[in-house]
Symmetry: C2
Subunit: 873 residues, 2 copies
């Protein structure tokens, strides 16, 4: 027996089932499924993906048995519809559609296939409506012309669309017979002029050509690119569905419509959609004659009731919001398609939790249903999807959300404008820690360089403000205060809008949609908590960040970077004094002034966290990051420090490093300047002591960064213990605290047993650990990493999704060795990976105590952690 | 019974043995050992290190039983010498010496202890020589004054030394009685003026004070520093030896002398040394009345014969060259000390192999005896130790050997002078690959920055020329063509000498001693080969280096860095054209021109190696290393490339990286510019094919650098195989070759099983692997690593001695995983550690196939490998 390439559906003659998407395509499988549920779908058949693959494997020829099979199925269809394909008197027409999960330009549906002068004439006679026949014929020609004969759709638009007169809404359907004849003539003339081959008259030939062309489209460059984007396999093939036509453009009680079973915008439980009276298709050339679905309830109450029942049936069946396409043909309701409805994050969350209440799905299912990264969307403003925009350029959506403001090119200018209460967007080639004060006041950041984990990206995500990084074609000219972007010049104070979610740079001020926190969100978080096993903390450096983090559900601070506290305008001078001090005494004086400032920082953070653990990392970045070598900056600083600019410039230059990432930073600073770490430890402990005295709870965890050798840890620990003893003796108060380290170098992981002997906790810094394990500087990866991802050398960006075989293996070694000597060793994760869903699964399996990410990603991490646990059981 | 603190030696009343150095000190233990062998040593006793430790633990008081014990031992000594300590008529005098393994200023021996006006008088009468008595008294006062009473030695020098008249050699011993009385008076007046306390008259008190002061000295800052330097434990304590005096300054048949059992300079087997007639001690104030030891043979043949016999006895006993101190007291020979003789590397090697021939020691012992690092010394010129030098500064001895030349400050100036056949020393703040042409022509390199593994250090060691790096206080002013070094200005063309072994910078041209390869050296290498298990290859980049490497015994090339071939003046332009090409076509043209040049390089190297394996690493460094951003250089290049300087500068700037070590380099270049790797592979294979055609043997091993993911390796391998197929098809010749990778990133080691599936060999690049595993950039480690070593955070410099727990563990993982999937996988080591003795032990235990180091270190690696194997069995 030869292979079966065609599957029938409709009534009770259904072949195949819902789970045969690979063979029948999404559309074919859903149609057979609906038919099996007893829902009225026009009957038809699906040509399988295997036929498509045969086509490509056999030099663009269809399987020899295919046309015979199709003929047989057409006969079956003719019987069911009581009409005949190509019959001049009682013609059967069909629609042909591609079963792709995404739509492609030039690959739209072909309706009314089977029309030719004879069948058009017969149909007009049969329906007693010549205009209807002519309209359907015209529509068929344009659709076939565009999809199969390669004629641009634009040509037809001018012919088939009528200019709308003001105040007199008109549709394409109220033409006279003569008018339709003229339209048809014009279309035929366009076809003979632009078509790549002749229009077949024989309906069977029309069908064969359509099928072949759909198959061919599947290997077009555009389709390939889209498949890659959607992650569809290249050799999955495509199915083609052929279905008997029903007509929504017959007399008055015919409509075509689209309906969601719930609101895709808000999740509200009522039908949501629109329809057109006496119209074929819902996409189309004229958009302003749509009626809201509620109107149908008034105009055709029985149809509406039937629609509602079917919607409910489908939702119960699929347990997901459905988006349906329907046609009312002379008062009779048909369904052409159903699929999961695409909705906003708000809606998705509400529907998930509502369905639990409705008993439709389990709690587990609700938690699994919302992709964690969607949660981030609901906390950021978005560019209004309805707004007309002019995208000047495209970069990486490095930090989600949207914002607009006036373009500025230096942190100083940002500050100046912000002082005047103006909103600004800071544009830089790339950002450095020196830009922090400018980034602090800007609405958003745009950079020419850097990746998803560049300085700009990491800092803005932590700040919760949008960032577009690595914007292609952006050239920043700081001197002239301007930038060029794809031929457009942006000068200071030009208004621009950043879409940090989509990576777009847009001219002008675009309206934004503001976020809101909903009760559904809270309910989802509560459900997630029932499953979640690991704790989620936030990376927060200021009292404000700490409060934000708690709002999002953070159960502590996993990483408080003390250096960010140093970039404040008033403090930076003290910090610079400390760095450039020529003697321990001078350094000591600067540190003495910094002590009360830091103490106050910590006090406020501890208060905000109300006894939840706060992990504070001692000074980490190379000292030169606090200094600018920009000549005017050097001059200013020299004046402030009362030294010569030349001397200062030399001193600053001597601090520059060839590979700062691997240089004099982290606890290496502590080793060479113990007084800095002592000051920080003292500030933490004094702050904690003060609060304990007031009977407030605090749980400071002091973290020593960049340890590679246990000897480093021991020394720093000793200093902290000495400071603690002094502070406790002085105040007479016992202060609870832990001392631990960041495991962010391979050697630390490999010698974790030695370090665990001394440490109360480990926090794996997966950013730096990734950099050293892979030997890739994230700041310099722009030259090859995008290429690596494109070429599939790396499947995922290792700075986004944890590299399990390399970095993950080291973490595993670290955890195993650490727990071997200290069973109760607290284990945390504090890199960017902490909020990545797939990475969370790994951390969950490792049974870490907590993961810590930026405040705005805490919710998605909470949800991701719950999903990881569910998946693992 | 109370603890025993004093051990007697002399005649047959010996307490203790040679192996009790910890208790008796080196001196005390050797004296009791000599006495036990029947050698004439003046009798005496040693106060143990335990007494010293008691002293410090008990607030600077001696053990209560100690003085009693000493009194008992003095009685024993009095009996043996038939004299009495402090007796005015028949006085016993003693010497007191510290048992340290190193000499300390102000801690010299005290001779003639026991002198006071009464005993001096009695001694004069007894010996019938008042001058002798007065001289000994005077000498005692100066020694006691300096060591115990804190008077500077300089004060006494002026009094006791006589101005030497030209042509009339005179010693301090030919004074008249009146003259000696005057000298004594002056010394006593100096003592009363400068001494910290009064001079004790009672000999027993003198002795107690001397012992206490020696103990105290042990905790002085200088002693502490020296202990640290020598690696002696702080609480090891020090022993004090008290010994009956014998006098080499009696009438004519008395002498004091020093003798080596063989020549410490050449290793020749004959006595070697000098002596003074009628003199006390060999160190001293006047140096020019020494007689060569051969003179003794003529003047006192019987004494000489006895001396020779004892020397032979001691050499047989210790199986090492001995350095003895002896005194002839009125014709009778006494030995005061014996110890292992310090000798040159030449001598050490000759003695070791000679002793095998003489049947004194085993082959195994001979191989174990020579420290491998000493071998390097014999191949480099040395600063003549006899030359009077003025060291301007001190840095790290980064590459051994010595050289002099005129100071220059740019590679261009170096080239210019070299073109005029002038020798130059290149002085730089630090070197970069752009300096290579200057380094090539310079005699030696001096840098202000960088460590033992900085660019300058690594390159010069490979070149075998001296380098002093990280010279403290050196400030280089390139613009003004001068440098400041500790207050001295060095301008262009000033002559300076570098001692790359000792790290000294010396003004002027200092005479150098030239190296020579000896038959003893060859014999040692042959012995080593009998034990050695692992192979040794060289890192060599040119045919010349390859030849040098073979001379030193290299068994292949383990690392041929192709980029070094690119820095040649003619080629660099082509390389720059390739880098800056705007299209694949332009790049292709530049590569086409480079192909024959590279092919020729490889041909010559293969020829030099005559079929031994040659591992060639494909292009590795970041491209910007080939470009200079120095404005005049950019202008020149722009002109040559026919582009604007501005455009070029921007293009060069865009290649700069924040962390080039972790940037776009290694196989990442290959991934983004496959045509470069293809060209290199083709050059290698065509060169090999050419030689195979001539029936010559070749064994190329193509090495892909910086692999972190097997996918990178697979792609590069594919290109190489494609090129190989083409070359082989074209020539019709089968070319033998291997394809492997450098394991130099933690991830590569962690995923070695995946990589081994594809690779023929692994070569562990321990330099980079150390950098990434520890997260330390060797170029930037100067800010903290010296401090780490000083403070003992790291016991060893991890760039010199392999960090076994971290980097070593990764290598172990890599080897295990690799061999698990490919049992015969070839494993090599090609970092700086390959020539470090302790690291070699680790590699030997891992059973790697070979280690590869710079040509000049091959011999020491060969020896080190033999020793490692001997130690492991």
């Amino acid at each position: 027996m030869s292979k079966k390439y065609v599957y029938f559906f409709g009534g009770d003659e259904n072949e195949g089932a819902a789970d045969m998407q690979n063979l029948l395509g999404e559309k074919g499988a859903s149609l057979v499924d609906m038919a099996s549920l007893g829902i009225d779908v026009p009957p038809g058949f699906t040509i399988t993906t295997e036929a498509c693959n045969y086509f490509f494997k056999n030099d663009f020829t269809l399987p020899p048995t295919l046309l015979g099979e199709i003929r047989t199925r057409l006969n079956q269809l003719e019987k069911k519809t009581d009409s005949r394909f190509g019959d001049p008197e009682n013609p059967l027409f069909v629609s042909v559609r591609l079963g792709t999960p995404f739509s492609l330009p030039g690959m739209g549906a072909i309706l009314n296939l089977g029309f030719n002068p004879e069948t058009a004439n017969g149909f007009g006679v049969k329906m007693l409506d010549e205009c209807l026949a002519l309209e359907c014929y015209a529509r068929f020609l344009t659709m076939f012309g565009e999809t199969v004969l390669g004629v641009k759709g634009d040509y037809f638009d001018a012919v088939i669309t009528r200019q709308k007169e003001p105040e007199t809404p008109s549709t394409g359907t109220d033409r006279t017979k003569a008018e339709w004849q003229s339209v048809l003539k014009k279309i035929k003339s366009l076809l003979s002029k632009h078509a790549t081959s002749a229009l077949p008259v024989d309906p069977m030939q029309q069908l064969q050509r359509a099928i072949e062309m759909y198959f061919r489209h599947w290997k077009s460059d555009t389709a390939k690119a889209l498949r890659k984007f959607k992650g569809t396999e290249d050799d999955s093939g495509v199915a083609v569905t052929v279905q008997a036509m029903v007509f929504g453009n017959k007399a008055e009680n015919s409509v075509s419509g689209n309906v969601f079973t719930r609101s895709p915008a808000t999740g509200e439980r009522k039908l949501f959609g629109e329809y057109r009276v006496k119209a074929q298709g819902v996409g189309g050339v004229i958009n302003d004659d749509f009626q809201p679905i509620d109107q149908l309830k008034k105009d055709m109450p029985e149809v509406f009731e039937s629609l509602e029942k079917t919607c409910q049936k489908l939702e119960n069946h699929y347990q997901k919001i459905q988006e349906l396409e329907f046609v009312v043909d002379s008062g009779k309701l048909y369904f052409l398609q159903t699929r999961s409805g695409q909705c906003t994050a708000f809606s998705e969350i509400k529907i998930a939790v509502d369905m639990v209440t409705e008993g439709l799905i389990s709690k587990r299912e609700a938690v699994m249903r919302v992709p964690p990264e969607r949660l981030e969307q609901i906390f950021h403003p978005m560019v209004d999807p309805k707004a007309k925009i002019k995208a000047l350029g495209q970069g990486l959506g490095a930090s989600p959300g949207a914002a607009f403001g006036k373009a500025v090119f230096t942190p100083e200018a940002a500050q100046e404008h912000a002082d005047r209460k103006e909103k600004v967007i800071l544009i830089r080639a790339e950002t450095t820690p020196e830009d922090i004060h400018g980034m602090n006041v800007a609405q958003g950041i745009l950079t020419a360089k850097g990746g998803m984990t560049s300085h700009a990206a990491v800092v803005t995500r932590a700040m919760g403000k949008p960032c577009v990084a690595a914007c292609a074609g952006l050239v920043v000219d700081v001197k002239r205060k301007r930038a060029h972007l794809n031929g457009v010049m942006i000068t200071e104070k030009d208004s621009i809008t950043l879409d940090g979610t989509g990576g777009r740079v847009i001219a002008g001020e675009i309206p934004l949609i503001q976020p809101r926190m909903t009760s559904s969100f809270s309910r989802l978080m509560t459900l997630a908590a029932e499953f979640r096993k690991i704790s989620v903390r936030a990376n927060a450096d200021t009292p404000h960040d700490a409060l934000v983090a708690r709002e999002f559900g953070a159960e502590g601070i996993g990483l408080c970077r003390t250096e960010h506290m140093f970039f404040n305008t008033e403090r930076i001078l003290l910090v610079r004094r400390m760095i450039l001090a020529n003697s321990e005494k001078e350094r000591g004086e600067a540190l003495k002034k910094l002590l009360p400032i830091q103490r106050n920082d910590f006090t406020e953070i501890f208060k905000a966290m109300e006894g939840l653990p706060v992990t504070i990392r001692l000074l980490d970045p190379p000292l030169h990051e606090f200094l600018s070598s920009e000549p005017t900056e050097v001059k200013r600083l020299a004046k402030e420090l009362n030294v010569s600019a030349g001397t200062l410039a030399k001193q600053i230059a001597s601090l520059r490093e060839i590979n700062p990432m691997l240089g004099h930073r982290g606890c290496r600073l502590g080793m060479t300047y113990p007084e800095i770490y002592r000051m920080q430890a003292r500030a933490i402990l004094e702050a904690a002591g003060k609060l304990v005295k007031k009977n407030l709870r605090v749980a400071p965890e002091i973290m020593i960064p960049l340890v590679s050798h246990v000897a480093e840890f021991k020394r720093a620990k000793q200093w902290i213990l000495e400071e603690a003893e002094e502070v406790q003796n002085k105040s007479g108060i016992k202060i609870p605290f832990k001392i631990g380290t960041m495991i962010e170098l391979p050697r630390a992981a490999l010698t974790a047993d030695e370090i665990a002997e001394e440490a109360d906790f480990f926090s794996f810094g997966t950013n730096d650990l990734t950099q050293t394990t892979l030997g890739i500087s994230r700041d310099d990866s722009g030259g090859f990493l995008p290429y690596y991802l494109e070429q599939g050398v790396w499947d995922d960006d290792p700075f986004v999704t944890l590299d399990k075989k390399g970095v993950g293996r080291l973490i595993q070694i670290g955890v195993e060795k650490g727990k071997l000597v200290k069973k109760k060793l607290q284990i945390g994760i504090c890199g960017e990976h902490a909020a990545d869903t797939r990475s969370i699964e790994f951390f969950n399996a490792l049974e870490v105590d907590y993961i810590s990410c930026s405040p705005f990603r805490v919710s998605s991490a909470l949800l991701g952690a719950a999903q990881a646990q569910i998946k693992s059981t």
